[in-house]
Every structure is written in C-alpha cells, then in structure tokens.
C-alpha cells in the first residue's frame, strides 16, 4: 500500500500525467461543440443508440457521447501509454536500479505500478465525466432523457452514464496489463505503448471478419463498448457479465506474465 502511495507521489511530478489529464478533459468539450454545431444526427456512429437523435439538444447525453468517442480508440491509447510507462519509463531514466536497490519486492513494485496506472485512468475518466456533465449543463441545460420508448430521470441517466465509464475502465484494464507486459519485455516505453496499441487494433480488425466470429466472446477488445447495453430497457446483463469475466481473466493472465518476466529480469542500466 505504501508503494502505491509512493507511486502516486512520483506520478505527480511527471508532466505527462497532467498533459494526459488535460488532453482527455478536452474531449467532452469538443464533443459538446460538435453537438452544438450539428442540427441532426450524422451519417453514422453514435446514432446507433436509439435515444441520441431525440436528445441532441439535451446536455445529459454529452457524457455518453464523449465515452463513445473515447471507448474504441482514445481510451485504449491512453491505457497502452500509461501501462507502457510503468516499468519501461523508469528503465529509460535509470531510476529503476535506484528503487530496486531498496528492499522492495519486484512483484509488489509491479503491482503498485499496475494499480497506479488504473487509478490514473479512473481519475482521467472521472474528470472527463465531470467536464462532460458541466459542459452539457452550461451549453444545453440538463433535462430528463426521453427516448421513443421510455424516459430516464436525470439521476438515472447520470448514474447509468457513470456506470458506463466504470465498465469502459474495467475492459481497458486488459489493455493496461498488456502494455505492462510489453513494458517489462522491451524496456522502452514507446515500443511497449506502440506494441500494445497495434495488437489491440489488429485484433479489432481481424474480429470484424466473420471468420473470426468464434473468437469474439474470448477477446477483450469485443467489449470496449459493452456498456451501451446499459441503455436498454430492461438492461441486458449477459454481454456485460461476460465482458467483466473476460477482462478479469485477461488482466490476470497478462499481469501474471509481466510479473514472471520482471521477477528475474537483469537490470542492466
């Protein structure tokens, strides 16, 4: 637990921490502006959700639309970067040998860094959520979310949106673990981030072909937007439960592999 705290302290001193947060916080503002400029649903994308078209002048949809923007690409990108910096970031600067000269277990260090990476993403998503709600409120005002079939109260809509953010975070934990694994293999944070992101994208492309349909349930990339199921009445839990199991299994396996790799790795810096 102490290591976790120390990692948070270290993170505060890194510029990239703040740049990342600011970068992500800008997304809902951009989304708000885009909604404001659009006079109707566009040709594709988020209009798949039935209520979007009906609610384009309601600030309550800004958090959901922002998440739609983040979930398939930007969030995995952020996750691979945060995961890649865990070990490789300190490897590159040479501070890894300094901290491993202290009586800390390598496993504990890895766990703390994994935890901090996830905490950071949580903080970033929380910030995005808050900015999204505020900018929606300021620009459009917030009202009950009415769809053709049913109406969410403001509280329900906000709660479901927030839950969506948490589910997106849960899936993206697998990406963090993947990047952490590469981070312990390469020792270069850039390489690790690119490898993790490329792998995620390649898998997503392959899974869009029907030949690979049988793999669909077992790969975490299938669940990046599983939270959309929350917005059905009644909520369809099946995919969400499957997704949570899937991401937990992948996170455990990938982080375990990272630990195995890091445990006896020679630190030659």
């Amino acid at each position: 637990m102490k290591l976790l705290w120390l990692e948070i302290v270290k993170m505060r001193y890194q510029k990239r921490t703040w740049i990342g947060l600011i970068g992500l916080a800008v997304i809902p503002i951009i989304v708000t502006i885009a909604i404001y400029l659009s006079d109707g649903p566009g040709g594709g994308g988020p209009t798949a959700l039935p209520f979007i078209a009906a609610a384009l002048r309601n600030g309550i949809i800004v958090p959901i639309l922002s998440l739609f923007g983040l979930a398939p690409f930007l969030l995995p990108l952020a996750a691979s970067m945060v995961g890649a910096f865990t070990i490789a970031g300190e490897w590159e600067t040479g501070t890894l040998k300094t901290i491993l000269g202290r009586p800390v277990r390598r496993g504990s260090l890895l766990a703390a860094k994994w935890g901090v990476a996830l905490l950071y993403l949580f903080a970033a998503l929380l910030l995005v959520f808050i900015v999204a709600v505020l900018s929606g409120l300021v620009v459009f005002g917030i009202d009950d979310l009415a769809t053709p079939f049913f109406t969410y109260t403001i509280a329900t809509a906000l709660w479901l949106s927030f839950l969506s953010y948490l589910l997106a975070l849960a899936v993206v934990a697998s990406v963090v673990s993947l990047a952490v694994l590469f981070s312990t293999i390469t020792g270069s944070s850039l390489t690790a981030a690119v490898m993790a992101l490329v792998l995620v994208i390649v898998v997503q492309i392959l899974l869009s072909f029907s030949y690979f349909d049988f793999l669909q349930p077992y790969v975490f990339t299938s669940y990046f937007t599983m939270w959309a199921d929350l917005f059905q009445e009644p909520v369809v839990w099946e995919q969400i439960v499957k997704g949570l199991i899937c991401t937990t299994a992948w996170s455990a396996a990938l982080t375990g592999a990272a630990w195995w790799r890091f445990r006896r790795r020679d630190i030659l810096i």
Binding site: Y13, T98, R102, P103, D266
Partner: protein
C-alpha cells in the same frame, strides 16, 4: 570484529558468450574498508549489481549477514546501502524529496536523518533544488547520501569518486575513512590504486572476472620507493642491480628502468652503477605507479623485463 558480513561464493555471471565474472570468492569482514580494484571491464560493476540483487548470478550466490542474494534479497538490502554505476534520481524532485522517497522504501524516512546525510555529503544547501539541475559530482554525493540513509551495516559504492573534482574526491575519501572508523563496513570498487591505498584496509584485485590477488592493503603496496633510472646500457644496469642487497624490483618502462627499492638503497645503487662504468644520466622519483603496472607485474604479462633481477617484490597472499 572478524566475522564475515559480505561474501560471494563461486559467483559467476555470463552474458551470452562473455563470462563477465568467473567463480568469484570474496569475504569482507565487519569493519573492513574493502577495495575492489580492477581495470575497466574487469567485472567490478557486474559483481556489485549481483550484490544489490539487480541481476541474477549464472552460478553461485552472495551472502549479506547470512542472507542470501538473490534468494533473500529484500532482507539483505535492509543491511546494505549503495549504488552501481552513476546513481540516478528523479530529476523533477528535490534532493530531499528523492531521499524521502527512497527512505520510505526502506521502511520510513526520518526528516532528521535525511538532513544528517545531506549534511554529511555536503549537499545541505542544495537540499531543496531539483536534482535535474545537479552536476555529476552532486549526484554522486547524493548517491552516497541515499546509501547511508537507512543506517546500513554495509555500504557498497561503485567508483564513488569518479567524476568528482579533486576537492570532492578528498571529501568523499575522508567520508569513507570516517565510516570505516565508525565501524561501518565499506565495499568500494575503484580502478585507482592510489585511492584504495588511501582509504582501504583490505583489497582484492580482479581481472577478467577473477581475483588476481587479495589481502591487506599494506601488503599490496610495493616496498620502498620507486625511482626511474635513465642509463646508457640497460642490460648491464640490470645485471648490476641484480647484485644489490634488498633485491630491488626492476621493470622496464620504455627506454628507462623503473626500480623499486628501499629509500636508503638509492645511493648505494648509484655508486655501484658508476663503479660498473654505467652512464647514469638521471635518477628521478618515479611517478605514482598505476594499477596497470601492478597488473602487469601480477599477471606476468610484462614484456622483456630484464631477466636477472626480475623478482617479485609483492608480498601477496594468494
């Protein structure tokens, strides 16, 4: 005060084709200031990495106060402080913050102790500056500060004076001597024989991952003084010198001869050379003998040393 606190047992490390450390057996006793001497690339840093548990030995192990490294690395590191290569810190943090962070990792960081070690290494005034702006020498000092921070029984320093200016070197050497006097065991790697002579009580000389010689520093030092003799006829000189009492060690140095002998023997040597009709052009005190010379003599790869007088003058214990 004679128990072994740090030892290596058949320690080997192979990097691909290269055997960097080859079955190294060392024993450092409590209170020793132990010099670990060798030329660059001798495997010194690799050994220190293994002591700190940063890399895994291919064979053998390290023992720190009965705790095995790497097996009981964490337990061993509570009794050990040090650094390897150039110490690296978080550049965006102040010196004090860095020490706090590292201290917390060893248990807890006491602000008074941080102040104390900063004072000790002469960084008290820069305690609240960011380490990113530190010079190499200041980082070196901070490296020593973090090694001392948790009051370990053993301190392992990898070339602690490298990159320091003469004043800094003197301070650091003084600090190491102080530590030794206070009973802290110090394991110090260096490629400077002079430095080891100045601060250490015992030393091992390594080359190609093996111990060439090990023993108290007094025994490593050549006897008497070294003089450089510039003469007309080298071979004849060597012959004459061979008949001198006290068996001076003669080593060829370019066109000149380096003679190591007791101080009082020098006039006698000159008298004999003159009597033997050798043109003595100069007899000057030799420059400080570097480790390279010691090596050449120890490993016997000396090229054409004058035969008759080639005797080992190093009282070395195998």
């Amino acid at each position: 005060m004679n128990d072994v606190v740090l030892s290596t047992h058949g320690l080997s490390k192979r990097f691909g084709e290269i055997l960097a450390v080859d079955g190294l057996d060392l024993a450092v006793h409590a209170g020793d200031v132990y010099g670990f001497l060798g030329p660059n690339g001798a495997g010194k840093t690799t050994v220190i990495r293994m002591i700190l548990g940063l890399i895994w030995p291919t064979e053998g192990h390290v023992e720190v106060l009965g705790k095995r490294v790497p097996g009981q690395r964490e337990a061993a590191l509570r009794h050990l402080g040090g650094f390897v290569d150039d110490p690296v810190f978080y550049g965006a943090m102040t010196a004090r913050r860095n020490l706090w962070l590292l201290g917390e990792m060893s248990g807890s960081a006491d602000p008074d102790r941080i102040e104390e070690v900063l004072e000790k290494v002469g960084l008290a005034e820069r305690a609240d500056s960011k380490v990113g702006g530190f010079s190499h020498g200041m980082k070196q000092r901070l490296g020593i500060a973090q090694a001392l921070l948790h009051c370990p029984e053993i301190i392992v320093l990898d070339e602690p004076t490298s990159g320091l200016d003469p004043g800094g070197m003197r301070d650091v050497r003084e600090l190491i001597r102080d530590l030794g006097r206070q009973g802290t065991t110090v394991f110090l790697s260096s490629h400077l024989l002079h430095e080891v002579e100045l601060v250490c009580t015992r030393a091992a000389i390594v080359n190609r991952g093996r111990v060439v010689v090990e023993g108290p520093v007094e025994d490593l030092r050549p006897d008497g003084m070294a003089v450089k003799v510039v003469v007309g006829d080298r071979d004849r000189t060597a012959e004459v010198l061979g008949l001198l009492p006290g068996e001076p060690a003669v080593v060829r140095d370019g066109d000149d001869l380096m003679v190591t002998m007791p101080d009082e023997g020098v006039p006698e040597m000159v008298r004999r050379l003159v009597a033997a009709d050798v043109d003595v052009r100069a007899v000057v005190p030799a420059p400080e003998r570097g480790l390279e010379d010691v090596f050449l003599e120890l490993t016997g790869v000396q090229d054409e040393a004058p035969r008759p007088t080639r005797r080992k003058r190093w009282k070395l214990r195998p």
